[in-house]
């Protein structure tokens, strides 16, 4: 059954199996979008946020009128909720880079470890300093290996726009990396 008829069927019958089908069909994509938005340096696991997205979707399913594709509606909801979650988390939690913990167990000498940590933190700062959309496409592409077509679907923009976001993100990173004295960013 296609998504839209499945939504209508679920609203009519409230059969949990129908909603489960929708969850299973979209869980990977939603999770990748959420993970791409949270990024690899997030304090919280994307799983929990993805669960919240599906609960929210379940709660609001009655407002889905079938004017857009269900997947677009769901990805938009995931996008909005994750950004909202990130904003709240930023206000609530102090930032603790995971690298600080990783280097504690490193076998390198203290100077090398400190230099590497500083370098990583600078790169992390550069990435986190990118505008939301640019950062998301960088994480989706370079961290999660998402294709341009997949990103276009998740972000509801044409493929050309995704390519342009990627290219602009790379240009910004290159410029900022040069300014920070980091080489090899291209």
């Amino acid at each position: 059954m296609e998504d839209e008829p499945a939504v209508a069927e679920y609203l009519r019958s409230r059969d949990p199996e129908v909603f489960r089908t929708l969850v299973e069909r979209h869980q990977s994509r939603v999770f990748r979008l959420v993970a791409g938005l949270l990024g690899p340096f997030a304090d919280r696991d994307g799983q929990e946020v993805t669960q919240e997205v599906f609960l929210r979707a379940h709660q609001r399913l009655g407002s889905f009128r079938g004017e857009a594709r269900f997947s677009s509606w769901l990805y938009r909801l995931a996008y909005n909720y994750t950004l909202q979650h990130k904003r709240r988390a930023r206000l609530r939690l102090p930032h603790l880079p995971i690298d600080a913990l990783e280097t504690l167990s490193s076998g390198d000498g203290p100077h090398e470890a400190a230099a590497e940590r500083e370098r990583r933190q600078t790169v992390e700062r550069l990435l986190e300093g990118l505008p939301e959309l640019y950062r998301t496409v960088v994480y989706l592409h370079y961290w999660l290996d998402a294709t341009v077509e997949e990103m276009a679907e998740l972000l509801a923009v044409p493929s050309g726009t995704v390519k342009s976001y990627l290219s602009r993100a790379r240009a910004r990173l290159r410029a900022q990396a040069c300014a920070s004295g980091i080489e090899g960013v291209d």
């Binding site: 999770f31 696991d45 929210r56 379940h58 889905f64 004017e67 909801l77």
Partner: protein
């Protein structure tokens, strides 16, 4: 473009663990959906009962007051009681109970 090993951003991101969804992710979501449904229906029933009780009290009061104003033809009295105490509250109850999980404002699709 520089080789991947030379690009610190690629290297940094490649070194990060890729998140994976557990096999039982859909089960976990469905468990929470059932909890959500249960909580919503409990809330809904309590709300519906409160509305019905309030309506009944108001209807009984209003009907008694109308009847106290003077004698009405028997058929009019019967209609008043049937409408006030049976049909309208039954309609309310039907409307409230038959729409579990109805639309809540949010993303439009």
């Amino acid at each position: 473009m520089a080789p991947e090993t030379e690009d610190p951003i690629r290297r940094l991101l490649a070194g990060r663990p890729r998140p994976q969804l557990p096999q039982d992710f859909a089960d976990a979501v469905m468990r929470r959906v059932r909890q959500q449904e249960g909580a919503y229906q409990r809330q809904h029933r309590v709300g519906a009962r409160l509305v019905l009780v309030a309506y009944w009290l108001a209807a009984v009061g209003a009907s008694a007051w109308i009847l106290g104003q003077g004698p009405l033809p028997e058929w009019m009295t019967a209609i008043l009681w049937v409408l006030a105490l049976l049909l309208v509250p039954a309609g309310f109850a039907f409307a409230l109970w038959s729409r579990p999980g109805a639309a809540v404002t949010g993303e439009r699709g």
